[in-house]
C-alpha cells in the first residue's frame, strides 16, 4: 500500500514524483494513529522557520560527474579518473575527492537533477541567483534580496551579505542578478571580504582619506548636540532612519558591533578546521553572521570564474586541468570547509534554523574534452541542501547513465529560489505582493 518499492527516496535510485505523492496521499489512511507525532512535527516546522540562509556559491560551474554524481560505469571518455566511495546515504556514492562530506551525508540532501537555461557564466549566474534570465525583463532580485526585503533591515547588521569575494564576474562583466534587482539597490548585498589568513575587510567601512574613527565620533557627537538644539519631529519614517543611522555609526565606530566579522575571536583550531583558504575562512565568517541572526549570507567561492587568467582567483571553470585542479585544490577546499561548517552548525544547535545550500551555476560536460578537461554543461548539475527542517540523508533526482540529463523531473533555479523563500516563511501571497518569483514552484521533496 505504501509503495516503498517505488518510493525509493532512501536509496537514490530515483523516486518518481508520482510515487511520492501517491504515498503522501495514502499514508493518512494507514497511520492515523501517529497523529500526535505528526502534530508535534508540524508545530516544530511552523515555529522552526529558517532564521538564516547560507548559500555557498560555487562560481564557475563545478563538475558534477567528478564530485557528487559519479558514473563509474560510464564509458571511459566520460567517467574520469576518480574512484567512488560510499556515503552514509545508502545507494549514494561520491567520488573519492570528497571523503569528509561522504562521511557526513546523513546531514544533508543532494539533488542530482538540476538544470538551467543558460550556458554562459554571467547569464547562468543570474539565472542561478535570481531564477530568471537576464533578458526576460527587468533584472530580478537575488534570492537574498527577497529575504532581506521581507525581513526588513532595522537590525544592527545588514540583512544580506556577500562573504569572501566580491560580486561574481567573469572577465568582461559581473553577474547582473547579484543584488536587489527590481527591489532596488537598497537590497544589494553588503560585501565582507575575507582572505586565506582570515583577515577581514569591509570595503564600505574602509574609512576614506581624511576620516578617522575619532573624527567620526566627533561628528556624531556634534550631530547629537545639534539635534538636541531644536524640536524633533515625530514620524515613523524619521524614527526608522535614525535607527539605521545609529547602526551605521555602530559598524563604523563601535568595536562591539563589528565582532561578528572578527575571526580572531575564533580559536586557531577552529579556523584551521575550515582551512586556511578564502573559501574556508568565508564559511567560518558565514557561521558567525548566522549566529548574529543575519538573514541571508552568500559565500562566494571566487570573484572570477576562470582558473588561470591573470588576476583571477581560481573559480570552478576548469576548461583545462579539470582533474588536476579538482583533485589538488577545489575539492579538498570544499570538502574541508563544508564539513567544518555543517559540523559547527549542528554542534551549536543551529542547523534546524539555518538553511545551508551549496551550488554553482551549472555542471560540466560529462564527455571529456580534447583538452582533457570538461566544458560548460547546463543540462545537469547538483545542489546540496542541509538544515532548515529539510529531511537529511536523501538523494533527490537522478541523472542518466552518462550524467548528461536528468531522468527524473528536472529541478530549476527558479524552484530553488521559491523553495528558499517558502522555507523562510515567504509564502505565495507574500511573493505575489513583492512581485517576485512569479511562476515559481516548490521543490516538493524539500518543503
Amino acid at each position: 500500500m505504501l509503495g516503498f518499492g517505488s518510493f525509493k527516496a532512501q536509496d537514490c535510485s530515483g523516486p518518481t514524483r508520482r510515487s511520492f505523492i501517491k504515498t503522501a496521499a495514502a499514508v493518512p489512511f494507514t497511520v492515523g494513529s501517529t497523529h500526535q507525532v505528526l502534530q508535534a512535527a508540524q508545530a516544530a516546522q511552523q515555529e522552526g522557520r529558517v532564521k538564516s540562509v547560507i548559500v555557498l556559491w560555487l562560481w564557475g560551474g563545478p563538475s558534477h560527474i567528478d564530485t557528487f554524481d559519479p558514473k563509474p560505469d560510464a564509458p571511459m571518455e566520460y567517467r574520469g579518473p576518480f574512484g567512488t566511495i560510499p556515503t552514509k546515504t545508502s545507494g549514494m556514492h561520491f567520488t573519492e575527492l570528497l571523503p569528509k562530506m561522504a562521511s557526513r551525508s546523513d546531514k544533508f540532501t543532494v539533488i542530482r537533477s538540476m538544470v538551467t537555461t543558460n550556458g554562459g557564466h554571467p547569464g547562468a549566474g543570474t539565472v542561478g541567483l535570481t531564477g530568471y534570465e537576464e533578458n526576460a525583463g527587468p533584472i530580478q532580485p537575488n534570492f537574498g534580496a527577497i529575504v532581506a526585503k521581507d525581513r526588513g533591515s532595522t537590525e544592527a547588521l545588514p540583512p544580506f551579505f556577500y562573504v569572501g569575494r566580491g560580486i561574481p564576474r567573469d572577465l568582461p562583466r559581473r553577474i547582473e542578478g547579484y543584488g536587489g534587482g527590481t527591489l532596488g539597490k537598497a537590497y544589494d548585498p553588503f560585501l565582507v571580504r575575507a582572505d586565506e589568513r582570515g583577515h577581514v575587510s569591509i570595503p564600505q567601512l574602509d574609512l576614506l582619506e581624511g576620516i578617522t574613527p575619532k573624527r567620526i565620533q566627533n561628528r556624531k557627537a556634534l550631530l547629537n548636540q545639534l539635534d538636541n538644539a531644536r524640536r524633533q519631529l515625530d514620524s515613523a519614517g524619521i524614527e526608522q532612519w535614525n535607527r539605521t543611522h545609529q547602526s551605521a555609526y555602530g559598524l563604523l565606530a563601535d568595536a562591539e558591533a563589528r565582532q561578528a566579522f572578527d575571526l580572531t575571536q575564533e580559536s586557531d583550531k577552529t579556523r584551521g578546521r575550515y582551512g586556511q583558504t578564502t573559501f574556508g575562512q568565508g564559511c567560518l565568517l558565514a557561521r558567525r553572521l548566522a549566529e548574529a541572526r543575519v538573514p541571508y549570507i552568500q559565500v562566494n567561492w571566487s570573484e572570477y570564474v576562470e582558473t588561470f587568467s591573470p588576476n583571477c582567483d581560481f573559480g570552478w571553470d576548469t576548461h583545462i586541468f579539470n582533474f588536476e585542479l579538482l583533485q589538488d585544490r577545489h575539492c579538498p577546499i570544499l570538502d574541508r570547509a563544508y564539513s567544518a561548517l555543517i559540523d559547527d552548525l549542528q554542534d551549536r544547535g543551529m542547523l534546524d534554523e539555518t538553511l545551508l545550500i551549496a551550488m554553482g551555476e551549472f555542471g560540466r560536460t560529462p564527455r571529456i574534452s580534447n583538452r582533457a578537461a570538461r566544458e560548460h554543461h547546463q543540462h545537469c548539475y547538483f545542489s546540496i541542501w542541509a538544515g532548515g527542517g529539510i529531511e537529511p540523508g536523501r538523494c533527490i533526482g537522478e541523472s542518466d547513465p552518462r550524467a548528461e540529463h536528468p531522468i527524473t523531473r528536472p529541478i530549476t533555479p527558479l524552484q530553488v529560489g521559491t523553495t528558499i523563500a517558502e522555507l523562510c516563511g515567504i509564502g505565495a501571497k507574500r511573493r505575489a505582493e513583492l512581485k517576485v518569483l512569479d511562476g515559481g514552484s516548490l521543490i516538493h521533496e524539500l518543503v
Partner: protein
C-alpha cells in the same frame, strides 16, 4: 529498522510534503467569541428599521439574516439586530436565533415583529418547501463553503500547485475542475459515500488527520454538516445550475457607528439568472480592508476596533461587493478648532477630521513652506537669494505668488517630467538613447505647456508611426507583449493592478480573467518594429489577430467596464480609439480620479487611495468625498493638471505643519498634519550639491542638468556594470524604470544609505572639496558666524537659532583647523533629519 520506525520516519517526510507554509492572515475566520464586543446599549430609539420588509424562504436549509437598525433623536444610528426581541404571529413557521437569523420550520406565512426599547417594527415572512427534500447544491453550497473556510484561497489549495497534492481552483472559479478534483481524482479517496465523516475532505479540516492548514471546520459547524449531507447525498452536482449574476451587501455605504454602538450585522443576498434570490450571509466570505479598525466575524458581524473607516468586502463564488463603514470613538476633551478653509480641499479634509475627532495642525512657517513647496514643485532647494527675498516679503499674497512662479518655471516642468519618466519607464534599455531623449522632451513639453491630461493620455495611447517623429510611440516599446501593455495601461490610467487576472479571477477585486483579455483585445494588434535607423521603431496596427482566452481557447472581444455596446467599436480599424474615447470621456469612473490621486500623493506624501496606483473596492479612499471633488474639479477644468496642483498646494492641508498635537498624533491617513518624507535620491543629490556648492555633473547631458532633471537612469555612459555617480542615486532608491509600479522607487531606508552619508565617496568629496562653499568662504575671509548662517539658510531655508549658532561657534573655537571643523559642521547639517527629510 523496524517497520514502525520506518513508517514513522516516512510519515515525517511526508508530513513536510503535505503541510507547507503556516497559514497567512488572508481569509482568517474570526469567531465571535474571540472578538471583544461591548454590550449593545439599546437606550430609547425613536424608530426602528428592519430589512428586508418581506422575504420568502424556499427550502428547509435556507436562512434569512435580519438587520434591525435603531434611529435615535440625536441623529445617530445603532445596529440592534442582536439586541432586539422577536415575536412571530405564527411561531410554528420559523424561529429567529440569537444572531437575528430566521430559520424555517414549516410552510406558511407569518409576521415577525422586532422590539427594542419602546419601538417596534414588522416584516413579513413566507416559508415554502420546508418539508421537501432540499439537497445540498454543489455550486451554491459546497463550493462557497470550501471558499468560506479558506480551503480554496491562494495560500492553500487554491494556489496554482495546490497543497499536498490537492488543488482547488482559486476561490472556486472553475467548478467542474473542482468537482473532478474532489470526487474523482486520487481514486475517489477524498470523499467516502458510505461513511461521509471519514472522507478525507472532512477529516483533514477537522484535523483528525494532520492538516497543514490547521483546523478549519468543527463537526458542529453548519458548514460541516452541509458538507456531510452533500457527500451522503452522493456528491450530486446540480443538473443545470442557475447562474449567480450579482450579490448585494447591506447595509449600504455611509453608515457611521459611534461607540458603544460599534457592531454592525451585514447581510449578503445573491441574485440568480432564473429570477430567484437567496440570503447567502452564512455562505459568504467577509473581509475587512483593515483589521485593526474593524474585524468581521464568520457570521458577518462587523466589530469596530478603533476609530477609522474600512471597506467590508463580501465574496460569494466569483461575485464580490463592498461597502464602507465608519467607526467613531468619542475622544475626551476634544475641542474642534481649525484654520479658515481655503477651498473645498480644506472643507472636505476638515469634515473628515471632525467626524473622526482629529485636530488639524496649524499652518507652517514661511521658512518651512518655502523649502517644502520648492522641493515638491521643482525638486530643488530654494537658493539663498530666493529664501531671503521670500522671508522679507511682507505681502499676504506671497505664498500663492510663489506657487505660480514655481509652477511656471522650467525646473517644475523638468522635475514633474521625471515622475512621468518613472511611470512611462523611460530607459535606454527599452528605447535607446535618442528614444529616451525625444520621449523625455515630448513629456517635458506637455508638462511645460500644461497640456490637458486627456490629450496627453490620448496621444500616448494612440501613438503610431515612427518614434522619431512621434516620440509618444515609445510607450509601446516598454512592454514586450500585449499583456505588458494591458497591465501598464490599466495601472497608469485605471489605477488597477490587473496582472493577477491574467491567470485567474482577481482574488481581491472584481476584475475577472475575462475582463483582462477583454481589455487586452484593444491592444493585441499593436505591433512595433525596429527600423535600424538610430533608435527608431515604428508602431503600427495589424489588420487582424485576436487575443485568445487561455481557458476556452476562444477569441475574446474587446470589453470595457460599465460600457455600452457601441462604446466598444472604433470608428477606424484602430481599436485603441474606442478605448481612448471611453477612457477620456468625462464620465469615466477611473481616469480623473487616478490622476488627481496621483497628484495628491506626490504633494501630500500619501494618496487619498494608498498605494496610489492600487484603486480597488477593497482598498477604499481615506476621504471619498475629497477624491470625488478633486476629480470633478479636474474634469470641469478640462483636465488641467496645474490647476489641481495649485489648488492642493494653496490649501491649509498642504501647508499644515509636520508638528503633531495630542489629538492628531496617531493619524496618518486623513491629512491632519504633514507627514515628513525623506528626499528622493535625486532631490537629495541636488540638495547636497546646492549646500556644499559642488554640484554633481552628469555625462551625456547638458552640464547644468540636475539629478532631478535626468531623462533616464541609464543614459549611455552610465551603462550597467559601471560604477559612477549614479551609484549614489541607486543606493537612495532611484528606480531602474522596469515596471510602471510606483513601488519601484525605493523609500526604505537602508544601512547602505546611512553608510553612504557617513563614509561614502560622494558626500566625502563634496564636504572635503577645497572648492566647496565653506573653503571658498574661509579663503575669502568671511566671519564664521556669517558662514554658519548661510549654511543654515541653504540647508534648511532658515537662520540658525541662538543655541545652534553657539554650538557651531564653540566647535570652531575648539578646533585648530577651522576648515576641518567647518567640514564637520557641514557634515552634521546634512545628516540632520531636517535636511534629509521634507517636513
Amino acid at each position: 529498522m523496524t517497520i514502525q520506525k520506518l513508517i514513522a520516519k516516512s510519515v515525517l517526510v511526508l508530513l513536510i510534503v503535505v503541510s507547507g507554509t503556516p497559514l497567512q492572515a488572508e481569509n482568517e475566520l474570526h469567531e465571535e467569541a474571540d472578538l471583544k464586543i461591548d454590550t449593545i446599549q439599546v437606550g430609547q430609539p425613536v424608530k426602528l428599521v428592519i430589512s428586508p420588509k418581506t422575504f420568502t424562504l424556499d427550502g428547509k436549509h435556507q436562512q434569512l439574516q435580519l438587520i434591525v437598525t435603531g434611529l435615535y433623536a440625536d441623529g445617530s444610528v445603532a445596529d440592534l439586530t442582536r439586541a432586539a426581541s422577536y415575536q412571530l404571529d405564527q411561531p410554528e413557521i420559523a424561529t429567529v436565533n440569537q444572531r437575528g437569523a430566521v430559520v424555517p420550520k414549516s410552510n406558511g406565512e407569518t409576521t415577525i415583529r422586532a422590539k427594542a426599547g419602546d419601538a417596534s417594527i414588522e416584516m413579513k415572512l413566507a416559508v415554502t418547501n420546508a418539508e421537501s427534500p432540499d439537497p445540498v447544491s454543489f455550486h451554491f453550497q459546497t463550493l462557497p463553503i470550501l471558499s468560506k473556510t479558506g480551503c480554496s484561497m491562494g495560500a492553500c489549495h487554491g494556489s496554482p500547485h495546490g497543497k499536498g497534492g490537492f488543488r482547488l481552483s482559486l476561490r472556486a472559479f472553475d467548478p467542474s475542475l473542482d468537482y473532478r478534483t474532489i470526487v474523482e481524482e486520487e481514486f475517489g479517496r477524498r470523499v467516502n459515500l458510505l461513511e461521509p465523516q471519514q472522507s478525507l475532505l472532512l477529516a483533514k479540516p477537522r484535523t483528525e488527520i494532520a492538516h497543514g492548514g490547521g483546523q478549519r471546520l468543527r463537526p458542529d459547524d453548519v458548514e460541516y454538516q452541509r458538507l456531510v449531507q452533500w457527500i451522503r447525498e452522493g456528491c450530486q452536482v446540480d443538473p443545470e445550475p442557475a447562474r449567480c449574476t450579482s450579490i448585494r451587501l447591506e447595509p449600504g455605504e455611509g453608515r457611521f457607528l459611534r461607540r458603544p454602538h460599534h457592531v454592525q450585522q451585514m447581510r449578503v443576498t445573491a441574485y440568480f439568472d432564473d429570477g430567484s434570490k437567496r440570503d447567502v450571509t452564512h455562505l459568504a466570505v467577509f473581509e475587512s480592508s483593515d483589521d485593526t479598525i474593524c474585524k468581521v466575524s464568520r457570521h458577518g458581524l462587523a466589530v469596530g476596533q478603533r476609530r477609522g473607516e474600512v471597506a467590508v468586502i463580501a465574496r460569494f463564488l466569483d461575485q464580490i461587493e463592498s461597502t464602507v463603514l465608519g467607526f467613531i470613538d468619542t475622544v475626551p476633551n476634544f475641542d474642534w478648532q481649525a484654520p479658515e478653509p481655503k477651498s473645498y480641499v480644506d472643507e472636505l479634509v476638515y469634515q473628515r477630521l471632525k467626524q473622526f475627532q482629529y485636530l488639524p495642525a496649524k499652518i507652517c512657517s514661511d521658512e518651512v513652506f518655502l523649502r517644502r513647496v520648492s522641493l515638491d514643485l521643482t525638486g530643488l532647494l530654494p537658493s539663498v537669494e530666493q529664501t531671503e527675498a521670500f522671508l522679507a516679503d511682507p505681502s499676504s499674497e506671497k505664498r500663492p505668488q510663489l506657487i505660480d512662479q514655481l509652477l511656471a518655471s522650467d525646473e517644475h516642468a523638468l522635475f514633474w517630467s521625471q515622475k512621468w519618466g518613472d511611470l512611462l519607464k523611460l530607459s535606454t534599455r527599452q528605447m535607446g538613447h535618442s528614444g529616451v531623449l525625444k520621449f523625455h522632451r515630448w513629456i517635458k513639453q506637455s508638462v511645460a505647456n500644461n497640456q490637458p491630461y486627456d490629450q496627453f493620455a490620448r496621444e500616448i495611447l494612440l501613438a503610431s508611426g515612427s518614434t522619431l517623429s512621434n516620440p509618444a510611440g515609445n510607450f509601446y516599446r516598454t512592454g514586450s507583449d500585449t499583456s505588458d501593455i494591458t497591465e501598464s495601461t490599466s495601472q497608469l490610467f485605471l489605477g488597477t493592478r490587473i496582472g493577477c487576472a491574467k491567470c485567474h479571477n482577481h482574488p481581491y477585486e472584481r476584475w475577472t480573467q475575462d475582463n483582462y483579455y477583454g481589455l487586452s483585445a484593444f491592444f493585441h494588434r499593436v505591433a512595433t518594429r525596429q527600423t535600424g535607423r538610430g533608435d527608431e521603431a515604428v508602431v503600427w496596427m495589424r489588420r487582424e489577430g485576436e487575443v485568445k482566452h487561455p481557458v476556452s481557447g476562444q477569441p475574446v472581444s474587446p470589453w470595457l467596464p460599465a460600457a455600452q455596446e457601441h462604446d466598444l467599436v472604433s470608428q477606424s480599424t484602430d481599436r485603441r480609439e474606442a478605448f481612448a474615447q471611453w477612457l477620456t470621456s468625462a464620465g469615466n469612473p477611473f481616469f480623473a480620479k487616478v490622476e488627481v490621486n496621483r497628484i495628491a500623493a506626490y504633494l501630500l506624501g500619501r494618496g487619498i487611495v494608498e498605494p496610489f496606483d492600487d484603486h480597488r473596492d477593497s482598498n477604499p479612499p481615506a476621504n471619498g468625498p475629497l477624491l470625488e471633488a478633486l476629480a470633478k474639479d479636474f474634469t470641469d477644468h478640462k483636465f488641467d493638471r496645474r490647476h489641481i496642483i495649485r489648488t492642493i498646494v494653496n490649501s491649509n492641508t498642504y501647508q499644515a505643519t509636520a508638528e503633531t498635537n495630542r489629538y492628531n498624533v496617531d493619524d496618518a491617513r486623513f491629512y491632519s498634519h504633514f507627514q515628513p518624507r525623506r528626499l528622493t535620491a535625486e532631490q537629495l543629490l541636488d540638495a547636497l550639491g546646492e549646500v556644499t556648492g559642488v554640484p554633481e555633473r552628469f555625462v551625456s547631458v547638458h552640464p547644468d542638468t540636475k539629478a532631478t532633471q535626468l531623462p533616464a537612469p541609464d543614459l549611455k555612459e552610465h551603462n550597467r556594470g559601471q560604477i559612477g555617480e549614479i551609484e549614489f542615486l541607486k543606493v537612495f532608491g532611484m528606480p531602474e524604470r522596469q515596471t510602471v509600479c510606483q513601488c519601484e522607487r525605493g523609500t526604505d531606508s537602508s544601512l547602505g544609505q546611512a553608510l553612504e552619508l557617513f563614509n561614502g565617496g560622494t558626500v566625502h568629496r563634496m564636504v572635503s572639496s577645497k572648492q566647496n562653499r565653506i573653503h571658498r568662504s574661509l579663503a575669502a575671509g568671511e566671519p564664521h558666524d556669517q558662514i554658519l548662517k548661510e549654511l543654515y539658510l541653504r540647508a534648511f531655508s532658515r537662520a540658525p537659532n541662538a543655541q545652534e549658532l553657539q554650538i557651531g561657534l564653540d566647535y570652531l573655537s575648539r578646533s585648530e583647523d577651522p576648515g576641518s571643523a567647518l567640514e564637520d559642521i557641514l557634515w552634521a547639517l546634512i545628516n540632520q533629519d531636517e535636511f534629509l527629510f521634507q517636513h
